[in-house]
Symmetry: C2
Subunit: 216 residues, 2 copies
DNA sequence: GCGGACAGAATTGTTGACAATCTTGTTTGG
DNA sequence: CCAAACAAGATTGTCAACAATTCTGTCCGC
């Protein structure tokens, strides 16, 4: 059964390299548009170039790096326009998930959402935008999970991975958490009321406002 | 400027193999769940195993093949449940595209849609389900194109690629084209009227009925 | 002084061989 | 006769070297 996520030994070299590289990019350790030379990465991670190559192909498919024929790989930079387009897709897909979750979620799952809502309220009251952002992430993840819509979840995780850089930027904007909080509470209420249409509408309203905030 | 899409010579081996394999799978030349042995494919397409490997990694990311550690690759079989989940995602994403297209499309683009509508009407009247299915595809592709939403277009092409087998099955069902046609005409009208909400609603209604038809 | 050709360096693409892993059919002990 | 250990075969994962391509800085002719 233990089949993954032990970076030490049992993992295949390619999986190891992939996980390392992905983590590095997602945590901003690689500057945007930085060149990714296969030889350097191979040495850095202690694997061969073939493994790095496979990992880069994977990351390209996930939209995290850009590869040009005979010219090498770079970490992909997401322009504001692209971030808006991505968020529009998130809007409809998370709307779908919320609607499904409103129907499919069990009682203890609803309780989890409620709990997250109060925690988020507290984080805003205490003026801790970082904590709030993390809870925010967790809430969206839970809604996705409860929807049981595996296809949508996969697509959304792909999309979210491309937005790490912009997300940071947005969370620290003054006044934004308070605004965002209200929208999230409406969404939680709609799911608790098991009203799929209201849940979808709430998610859309929320991400519409995110899009507006992004456009500045 | 000529940079791609000449399958004859200038293409890199991996790209060539990728295109060939993808085409073969999408056109049903590979049986579902068929084993894909790297050596055989390499010989068959006249490239080396490394290229085939890279192509398989790509196809796995596109959801067309399944790869298991040290056990090989198979063309992925999409169950009916997955097909429904995929179509639900299509529903919301194409809804987004239709709404954007209703705002962004130019006059001559609207004319193209109208033309396709009449061609589809004729195909149904003549009782040619295959022609109708092709026009259907083309209509959806045009709407996506006119939306200018590149992210959504990418996601949708991924999703559609996974549905080839189910699409065939659906198109030949008696009475289905007539039903489908009406829904498409409503959508075209909504886009022509530049009414994004109506366009989105029309797309959703259409794909909801597709989901119902799939579930049998 | 400037544009274009040219050589050198750097980097990716490709190849064939080798190692690790899994499957399958067989054998052996109970 | 059956189950577990075992061995052979097949297949993927990894490696190091080679070929092809692109970029960069320099030099020459004008």
């Amino acid at each position: 059964m233990p089949e993954e996520a032990r970076p030490g030994t049992g993992e295949q070299a390619k999986q190891h390299a992939l996980a390392q590289l992905r983590h590095a990019i997602l945590h901003g350790e690689m500057a945007p548009a930085q060149r990714l030379v296969e030889n350097e990465l191979a040495e850095q991670f202690g694997v061969t170039r073939a493994s790095i190559r496979a990992a880069l192909i994977d990351l390209e498919a996930q939209g995290l790096v850009e590869r040009i024929r005979n010219r090498g790989s770079r970490v992909r930079v997401v322009t504001v326009e692209e971030a808006v387009a991505i968020t529009e897709c998130r809007m409809v897909l998370e709307g779908l998930c919320a609607a499904k979750a409103a129907v499919a979620a069990g009682d203890e799952q609803l309780a989890e959402l409620t709990e997250l809502g109060t925690a988020m309220t507290k984080a805003v009251a205490d003026g801790e935008p970082v904590t709030y952002s993390e809870l925010n992430q967790e809430l969206h993840a839970k809604v996705r999970e409860f929807s049981g819509q595996q296809t949508a979840v996969d697509l959304l995780e792909r999309l979210n991975a491309q937005l790490v850089r912009h997300r940071f930027q947005l969370a620290l904007r003054p006044g934004r958490p308070q605004h965002s909080l209200n929208e999230h509470l409406v969404m939680i209420e709609a799911i608790r009321a098991r009203d799929p249409q209201a849940a979808e509408a709430a998610v859309r309203a929320h991400l519409t406002s995110v899009i507006e905030a992004l456009s500045d």
